[in-house]
């Protein structure tokens, strides 16, 4: 627990120092949403129906920027190796970073929702439930994303390699997130929201437990 708190403290310091980067990622996500609305054209109904998909596509694309750079600060002076030699527990380092990435993505997702409402004229009758779906979906992206970013951070082409490895793995999470978001915005007469959220929670539990176990093998020599 001490290591986890120390890891969270470190991530909070690093996030605060690099807060401008989060703004850049938000602008990237917002631009994606804007482009989708231009691509579909002035079909209000079509935009409303596809709003959930566009939101998660924008979030997924923006997440690759966040995740690919997540180990940049750790690699500049091999700070991660320094922490491992203290010794800091690898699972604590992983969960600290994964929680930090989850927080960033959830903040980003929540920030894109008002933009989605404006651009696609989408309905958000239950904002708290939508926030829960975004939080669960971002948890499903950040857990494997943090692990794969650790695996690819030394590769020169990590910006390419990370999406190639990550996207196939998070397809179930994305499908469940899009479905749950769509049901929240367009109505849920068949009561399908709960099963989709449960599926999302199951994938999250699987990713968060497995990735924490594997992290030590990825970062140790």
């Amino acid at each position: 627990m001490r290591d986890l708190l120390a890891a969270l403290h470190k991530e909070a310091l690093l996030q605060w120092r690099s807060r401008a980067q989060l703004l850049a990622v938000f602008v990237f996500g917002a631009t994606s949403l804007l482009l989708f609305s231009f691509a579909v054209g002035p079909h209000a109904e079509l935009l409303r129906e596809n709003a959930a998909g566009f939101l998660w596509l924008g979030l997924l694309l923006a997440s690759t920027l966040t995740l690919a750079e997540t180990y940049q600060a750790e690699m500049e002076q091999r700070a991660l190796e320094g922490l491992l030699l203290l010794p800091a527990s690898p699972p604590a380092l992983y969960y600290g970073k994964a929680l930090s990435n989850w927080f960033q993505l959830t903040l980003l997702g929540s920030g894109l929702v008002p933009l989605m409402v404006v651009l696609y004229d989408a309905n958000v009758p239950r904002p708290l439930a939508l926030f829960a779906v975004i939080a669960l979906g971002c948890a499903g992206l950040s857990a494997p994303g943090t692990l794969y970013a650790a695996m690819t951070h030394q590769a020169r082409s990590r910006q390419t390699l990370l999406p190639l490895l990550l996207f196939p793995l998070v397809v179930p999470v994305l499908i469940a997130s899009v479905k749950a978001t769509s049901l929240l915005m367009t109505g849920d007469p068949m009561g399908q929201l709960r099963p989709w959220m449960l599926l999302l929670a199951c994938f999250d539990a699987l990713h968060w437990s497995l990735c924490g176990l594997l992290f030590g093998r990825v970062v140790e020599d």
Binding site: K10, L13, A73, E76, E81, L83, L86, P87, D221
Partner: protein, 230 residues
């Protein structure tokens, strides 16, 4: 696994390490008593840093074994890490954080006092207290080395591994390293130091060894090392 308190600080036997197809270290064996200081010399690429990184558990040996502070390098990595501090070529710092914040991060992981007064005292020892709140990315190479040294001291380890401790430092920095080595020796800390400054290193250490292309080429009293290396 309980460590043997009377055992050598470091006992290496047949250590080998390769990077790809090239052997960086071949069959290196030596013994260092508790509280002693060992100087490691050799040309660039002779395996000095590899040896220190192996003993710090930053990398694993391909063959051979070693006990550090009484703990086996392969079987008890965490125990070794709790007893060893490495001053590496890499400073292990976060560039975006200040000197004080970097030490706070390390102190929290070590479960030590992460308060400002305690860490400022440490920074005073390396003459960085006046730059405590400045970001590391504004530091010169010598200042980074001083901060790395403060972090090494924070670990309060039984075995300290110093890789080129005089590198990038100014003459007052040289004297600071010498004084810190004296303090460590008086505390009973064992020191392994890789350096190219033969005379200076020999004056600070008891024993010496020379590596050549990853092999142990010479070992003996540190005072004789400059002549042997020549």
């Amino acid at each position: 696994m309980t460590p043997d308190r009377n055992a050598s600080a470091v006992a290496a036997s047949g250590l080998c390490r390769r990077y790809g197809r090239r052997w960086a270290l071949v069959d290196v064996s030596f013994d260092l008593g508790a509280g002693s200081a060992l100087m490691i010399a050799g040309r660039n690429g002779s395996g000095k840093s590899t040896l220190l990184r192996l003993l710090a558990t930053a990398i694993r040996p391909d063959r051979g074994s070693a006990r550090v502070a009484g703990h086996d390098l392969r079987e008890a990595r965490d125990q070794v890490r709790r007893n060893v501090a490495l001053l590496s070529h890499h400073s292990y710092h976060y560039e975006a954080l200040s000197a004080l914040e970097n030490l706070q991060v390390a102190a929290r992981f070590l479960g030590k006092d992460a308060g400002r007064p305690a860490l400022l005292t440490l920074l005073e020892q390396v003459a960085l207290a006046d730059r405590a709140d400045d970001s590391v990315h504004t530091f010169s190479a010598g200042m980074r080395k001083r901060l790395a040294l403060a972090r090494t001291l924070l670990q309060d380890a039984r075995v300290v591994l110093l890789d080129e401790p005089y590198g990038e430092l100014d003459p007052p920095g040289f004297r600071m390293i010498d004084q810190l080595l004296d303090v460590l020796r008086k505390r009973g800390v064992s020191v392994l130091m890789a350096t190219h400054l033969l005379e200076r290193g020999a004056a600070m250490c008891d024993h010496g060894l020379v590596l050549d292309a990853g092999r142990l080429a010479w070992s003996g009293p540190a005072a004789e090392l400059p002549r042997a290396e020549a």
